[in-house]
């Protein structure tokens, strides 16, 4: 009775990380518990029905779960919780989706009342066809995703044994000369391949592209890759050519400018969701080839129309990649039910400890507004308040001081408001990349930055994702999309590529004190704080004094 785990009656599990058995315990509970927070001393896991069912799907049973909890628990595990675990896990597998030789896709049950119960649901009725026998009902093949999602919501998850189509075969191999998949990447690929479909969560800069490449090498089939923007599409292509047996000609780009469909096609979310006359003309890309694998980059940004279409793609293997599966719109569960359960998740600090991402020093710089600014802030309209305090002149001064402080290091200044960025660019004498910058211009500037020709780059939110800038060491965030947690994490991710000399990255967030900016900043930081990034707070006066 001196284990590292404390099981709370509200189904959270608290793991004391400094405990000698902490590692063993972590391994024991990882299959069924979701890591919720990983700050420095106590990690919080949560038992959710989804997590327990995923564990069932991966072949764990209730006995194992109970044993793990009881074995590592410091205090007696509440009996009600154990009963609940057993009951929840017993709900999985009563319903099975399978292929029937005569009737195609069918839903069968081992427990007839359950089938009766769900068939009575109004949401299920339109998704199923004729009753084949008392225990079996036909399902329209196109509703495979929908019915799985609905059953999950009803609390009777279906085990999907209908399998995947192999798709059009295409030889893809990893070309591991001079490099190798890192152990956690290999593990992620394995977990994904074993599970069939799902989501892999890795910190920014931890090499998610290679996990994608690894998955493609396993599938050895035509692949559709969905990414956030064109720059990122080019990076994928570049990386795939470099790391796999694929050649330039085998990879097509499907974006606003080019419409190539090749064995491996990289498309942007934007082009897919372009709408003309009420229809999405480019969604047929999904059907344009017999894809064997569909890759979703930055799956937390998956737009709603793609969600809908993904529901119809349940027979194809799907892999979602993300760093932060937090959506401010709360649609995480849709990601899980449509793409697949989380197959791999590594806490940021753990990858950092292994040296694959740079350690980062996160600093919140608190700026005091001047009296006149405070007055103006107080009288600003409610919807203008954030913009006002996020773009104050004082912030600009502090930002300049910070840039000067890190002179010689590759520095990114990231912000939300174009006016502010333009002004900063002018004062810092640095180029600005924003929405209106052409792709060619962007790539030129990024290349110059990578080469060290430019040491300061001012970027808008276009650079939030997937922009690979390995040499960036310092990021200064001056404003953001209100309280977006994943944006904060993504921006930190810009500087997390391990540095050649191993020095640590610096992430500054410049925040106006005693304003709504500070409240948003607190919310933004929550995800990273829960990942164990302890923000240091610095007074702007100290920065300015140092500068003077």
């Amino acid at each position: 009775m001196n284990g590292p785990l404390i099981v709370q009656s509200d189904k959270t599990l608290l793991l004391e990380v400094d405990h000698e058995q902490a590692d063993a315990c972590r391994r024991a509970i990882a299959p069924f518990a979701e890591l919720e927070r990983a700050p420095e001393h106590i990690h919080t896991y949560r038992l959710t029905p989804l997590g327990l069912w995923n564990a069932r799907a991966a072949g764990h049973d209730a006995e194992q779960v109970v044993d793990a909890l009881v074995a590592y628990s410091r205090y007696p595990v509440p009996h009600a919780l154990l009963v609940d675990v057993a009951e929840t896990m017993a709900r999985y597998g009563r319903l099975t989706l399978a292929k029937h030789p005569a009737h195609g896709l069918v839903l069968t049950t081992t427990d007839r009342p359950v089938l009766e119960e769900i068939l009575r649901s109004k949401k299920i009725q339109p998704l199923v066809g004729t009753r084949v026998d008392p225990d079996t009902v036909a399902v329209h093949p196109s509703e495979r995703g929908q019915i799985k999602q609905t059953l999950l919501k009803l609390g009777w998850p279906a085990e999907d044994l209908a399998g995947y189509v192999d798709g059009e075969a295409h030889a893809i191999d990893l070309d591991e000369t001079g490099w190798a998949l890192r152990p956690y990447q290999r593990q992620a690929v394995e977990n994904f391949w074993h599970g069939g479909s799902g989501v892999v969560v890795l910190p920014c800069g931890a090499g998610k592209t290679l996990v994608g490449a690894g998955a493609m090498a396993e599938a050895k089939a035509t692949t559709l890759i969905l990414v956030t923007n064109t720059v990122s599409a080019r990076q994928w292509k570049h990386e795939l050519v470099k790391r796999t047996s694929l050649t330039e000609d085998e990879i097509g780009e499907y974006s606003g400018t080019k419409k190539e469909i090749r064995p491996v096609t990289i498309a942007t979310y934007q082009v897919l969701t372009t709408r003309r006359k009420g229809i999405y003309p480019h969604l047929e890309l999904f059907d344009s080839r017999d894809w064997g694998l569909i890759l979703y980059d930055e799956v937390h940004l998956l737009p709603a129309p793609v969600f809908k279409f993904t529901a119809d793609l349940q027979a194809r293997r799907r892999l979602g990649l993300t760093a932060t599966l937090v959506r401010e719109d709360g649609r995480e569960s849709d990601v899980f039910s449509l793409i697949g359960p989380k197959r791999f998740d590594a806490p940021w600090k753990e990858i950092e400890a292994q040296g694959y991402i740079a350690p980062a020093d996160c600093v919140e710089v608190r700026v005091n507004l001047t009296d006149s600014e405070r007055l103006a802030y107080a009288t600003a309209e409610a919807e203008e308040k954030y913009r006002f305090c996020a773009t104050t002149a004082t912030k600009r001064k502090v930002t300049e001081a910070l840039v000067r402080k890190h002179a010689g290091q590759q520095t990114l200044v990231i912000g939300q408001y174009i006016d502010q960025l333009d002004e900063l660019g002018e004062h810092l004498n640095a180029p600005v990349i924003k929405g209106e910058t052409t792709n060619a211009q962007r790539e030129k500037l990024f290349d110059a930055f990578r080469e060290g020709e430019i040491s300061v780059l001012v970027v808008s939110k276009v650079a939030n994702f997937s922009i690979d800038l390995p040499e960036a060491t310092v990021a200064i965030q001056v404003s953001g999309t209100f309280g977006s947690r994943q944006e904060e994490a993504q921006r930190l991710g810009r500087v997390l590529r391990p540095k050649a000399d191993g020095h640590e990255a610096r992430f500054y967030s410049v925040v106006a004190r005693d304003t709504i900016d500070q409240d948003f900043a607190a919310h933004r930081q929550r995800f990273l704080a829960e990942q164990g990034y302890a923000y240091r707070i610095l007074d702007a006066d100290a920065v300015l004094a140092e500068d003077a």
Binding site: Q8, S9, D10, P39, A534, I537
Partner: protein, 818 residues
């Protein structure tokens, strides 16, 4: 065995028994003792009363009841052999003799059976209660004896039965019955008789054999029934009804009175086995939880709990709210509330607006060591008659039973609880029982009466649930401390509600000693993290827990507690009088890890703004650009009464109203001027005082207003008519003196009226109204019908209707004079 002087009555039997037996009897049947009987005859009489016997029979276990039932169908007095035959049948199962001896011992001890040696007699009342009658079938399913069934049968029919059964005719009915009984009780002859029976007849018998023994037959029974009826194997009881005589049924049953003999108590089966250590730890964890829940409940109600319903108890809404606050389902919330109430930790405050609140006992309870706190709760639960499981149900009058309300006491509760735990204690350590086997055992020990809702099994069900909640059991098995708690209760034969208090002593202490080491040691530290949370990896010492609960919000409870610091929670601590440095010191002292910087910043940031703005009440102020003048005012002693306070260099405030302040300052020789809300100087030139808009008063003339022409005309007519009535000369002098009402007989009145209708003449009438006031009126009748006259009343100048019976008399008017 047989003694020469066998007792001839229960009283004699009681007289013969020793003091110990007497004590045992009175303990088993305490109702015999109130009031204390004068002598043994009285005791025996009382032991034979219906109410007492019913009570005693109800409290017997299943097998002893079966023995009593068997005795009730046996001949009186019954021999041991006869009884054994009835109980065990022809093929005697093992161990049945022992069980029978024990049962007889019980029955005898409880004065339900008496009689020496081999002559057992069931007390007459018990026999009447248990013997079968057509109205009340016996649990044995046996019918009346041949003798009983044939009483009142015609001699001729009796003789025909006897001959049909193959017996010699006898000279009277009595010997015939005896002969038939002898045949039916003789296994061999009976078997021979039944061998001849047609198969359908055997089928009929087999249907009736285990009861109910009555069957319907038509007036012309079929052949196979005829066969049975002719031989007396079925005897008529009423037209169309036949009964299977007891002797025949017993033959067919192989002598047994009961279909299923339940000689042995059904064993309690262990459903699962856990390591005793696991059980004890789980139970201890739950015990800790129970204490935390009760404390949380009373903390929640600390500043005035929910109101007491007028009918007593807690409203459904308050129970729901409490359940949400405790994060438990409602039935559980009811249990915790009732538990705290039973333990005397909460009660109604008895104020006019009655609410529930913690009692002073709660404060002393909180000071006790943890384990002892638990034993207080557990013993209160074990001995209490209040039954939380009933909450939400309805009583016999269909009123909802509310928590803490009336109607929740069930006297059987403590006994059932003790017994259920006792059964658990009989299992090996760490074994969790199969709930159904516990129920079966309880049903055997005290069979539920017919019809009554099975309260005891519900109580047992709740006991198992509540014991788990309370931590008496862990994973369904009785814990070591639960066992210790029980030890004392088991020694007593019938635990009364009072015994709990006494039992707290030794057993409680033992339980507390066993429990104490299993409970987690309260900690004096927490872990602070940079994401602004604090985790207490175990229960905290009370002062620390209380302080932290103010400073941070609780996010998760259980073995550990997770706190989150928010600006709101820090402000709460500052509001409670703590300063920022107090908070820093507090966190540094109790954190095992360095205080994270964001947390210090949070505290400092909130503290910096805390109290920055100050709010107060003042009713007037003095402002002056010249600080010197204000200094002067403050220094002036005459101004003390104004209670001026300096808010800023140029502002003074006072609770006095502006007029007083003006007056006061003027008297001190200053020349202040008043200021409007907008800051303008109020001109104090005598301001003409005006009312809101008002209308001028209406003139009030002396006397009534002048009448108008219409009114006057009407008045004149009325006066004239009245005059006509009083002065009109009468045609003939009525019997009445002048000024008196006219008097005529009813017939005369009616005739005159009807005549007047025809002639259209006016009449002079005397009339008495509903209040008894008499008046004279002149009327011109229009219609007379239904006892009413409708007439034009000259006096009132309108058409009215008068009941004829109120008209005293009538007179024609004299012709117009002159």
């Amino acid at each position: 065995m047989s003694t020469p002087d066998a007792p001839r009555s229960l009283a004699e039997a009681l007289r013969a028994c020793d003091d110990a037996a007497m004590v045992a009897l009175l303990r088993a049947r305490p109702d015999l003792l109130t009031p204390v009987p004068n002598d043994l005859t009285q005791l025996a009489t009382r032991a034979g009363t219906r109410a007492s016997v019913v009570r005693a029979l109800e409290r017997l276990d299943r097998f002893t009841q079966q023995v009593a039932e068997a005795l009730a169908v046996a001949p009186e007095p019954a021999t041991y052999g006869e009884l054994l035959g009835l109980v065990a049948g022809d093929d005697e199962p093992d161990g049945v003799r022992d069980a029978l001896d024990r049962a007889l011992g019980t029955l005898r001890g409880q004065a339900l059976v008496w009689g020496g040696g081999d002559r057992f007699r069931l007390v007459r009342t018990a026999r009447e209660l248990l013997a079968p009658t057509p109205q009340r079938p016996s649990p044995t399913g046996l019918g009346p004896t041949v003798g009983e069934a044939m009483a009142g049968m015609s001699p001729g029919r009796v003789q025909s039965l006897v001959t049909a059964a193959g017996l010699a005719a006898t000279h009277d009915a009595v010997s015939a019955v005896e002969a038939l009984t002898a045949l039916f009780t003789d296994r061999k002859r009976m078997a021979a008789l039944l061998d001849e029976a047609p198969p359908e007849s055997v089928e009929v018998l087999s249907r009736l054999v285990w009861g109910p023994p009555y069957g319907q037959v038509t007036a012309e029974p079929a052949g196979h029934l005829r066969w049975l009826i002719d031989r007396g194997l079925l005897l008529p009881t009423a037209p169309g009804t036949v009964v299977l005589p007891r002797e025949v049924a017993l033959h067919l049953r192989g002598g047994r009175a009961h279909h299923v003999l339940e000689a042995v108590a059904p064993p309690v089966v262990a459903a699962r086995e856990h390591r005793p250590q696991v059980v004890d730890n789980t139970a201890a964890g739950q015990a800790h939880m129970a204490l935390a829940t009760v404390e949380e409940l009373l903390k929640d109600w600390d500043e005035g709990g929910p109101a007491v319903l007028r009918a007593g108890g807690l409203s459904v809404r308050d129970l729901k709210r409490t359940a949400v606050a405790l994060d438990v389902p409602e039935p559980q919330a009811a249990f915790w509330v009732e538990l705290a109430y039973s333990a005397g930790l909460l009660a109604a405050d008895g104020e006019a607006d009655e609410r529930y609140a913690a009692t002073p006992a709660y404060d002393t309870w909180q000071e006790l060591p943890v384990a002892e706190r638990w034993t207080r709760l557990a013993t209160a639960w074990l001995a209490g008659t209040r039954t939380a499981g009933l909450v939400g149900g309805r009583d016999s009058k269909d009123r909802t039973l509310s928590a803490l309300g009336p109607g929740l006491d069930r006297s059987a509760a403590p006994e059932v609880r003790t017994r259920v735990l006792g059964l658990l204690a009989e299992l090996p350590e760490g074994a969790a029982p199969d709930a159904e086997s516990v129920q079966a055992r309880l049903r055997w020990e005290r069979p539920p009466g017919t019809g009554a809702s099975d309260l005891r099994s519900r109580l047992a069900h709740w006991t198992l649930e509540e014991a788990e909640l309370l931590g008496v059991t862990g994973r369904g098995a009785l814990s070591a401390h639960g066992r210790a708690l029980l030890a004392e209760g088991l020694d007593q034969h019938s635990p009364s509600p009072g015994s709990g208090g006494a039992g707290t002593g030794a057993a409680g202490e033992r339980a507390a000693r066993l429990l104490a080491p299993l409970l987690p040691e309260p900690l004096d530290h927490v872990l602070l993290q940079a994401d602004l949370t604090a985790v207490a990896p175990g229960p905290l010492r009370r002062p620390l827990a209380d302080a932290l609960a103010v400073l941070a919000d609780i996010e998760s409870k259980g073995g550990a507690t997770v706190y989150r610091f928010t600006p709101g929670s820090v402000r709460r601590a500052l509001d409670a009088g703590q300063s920022a440095s107090d908070l820093h010191a507090f966190l540094t002292a109790h954190s095992r890890t360095p205080v994270p910087q964001p947390l210090s910043y949070l505290i400092d940031d909130v503290a910096r703004k805390h109290g920055h703005l100050r709010i107060g009440a003042a009713s007037a102020y003095v402002r002056c650009d010249d600080e010197g003048v204000l200094n002067e005012i403050l220094a002036d002693r005459r101004g003390e009464g104004l209670r001026l306070r300096r808010l800023a260099p140029t502002v003074l405030a006072t609770p006095a109203d502006p007029a007083t302040l003006l007056e006061g300052l003027r008297s001190m020789g200053f020349a202040p001027s008043a200021e409007s809300a907008e800051g303008d100087v109020l001109i104090t030139r005598a301001h003409s005082h005006r009312t809101p808009p008002r209308t001028a008063p209406e003139p009030v003339p002396d006397g009534p207003p002048l009448p108008d022409a219409t009114l006057l005309g009407a008045a004149v007519r009325a006066i004239r008519a009245g005059d006509l009535a009083s002065t009109a000369p009468r045609k003939e002098a009525p019997t009445a003196a002048p000024g008196e009402l006219p008097r005529t007989t009813a017939a005369e009145t009616l005739a005159t009226m009807q005549a007047a209708v025809l002639t259209g003449e006016a009449l002079w009438i005397g009339y008495v109204n509903a209040e008894g006031a008499a008046s004279q009126r002149v009327i011109a009748p229009v219609r007379v019908e239904g006892g009413f006259v409708t007439a034009y009343d000259h006096t009132a100048d309108e058409v009215r209707t008068y009941p004829l019976h109120r008209v005293t008399g009538v007179a024609e008017l004299a012709d117009e004079a002159g």
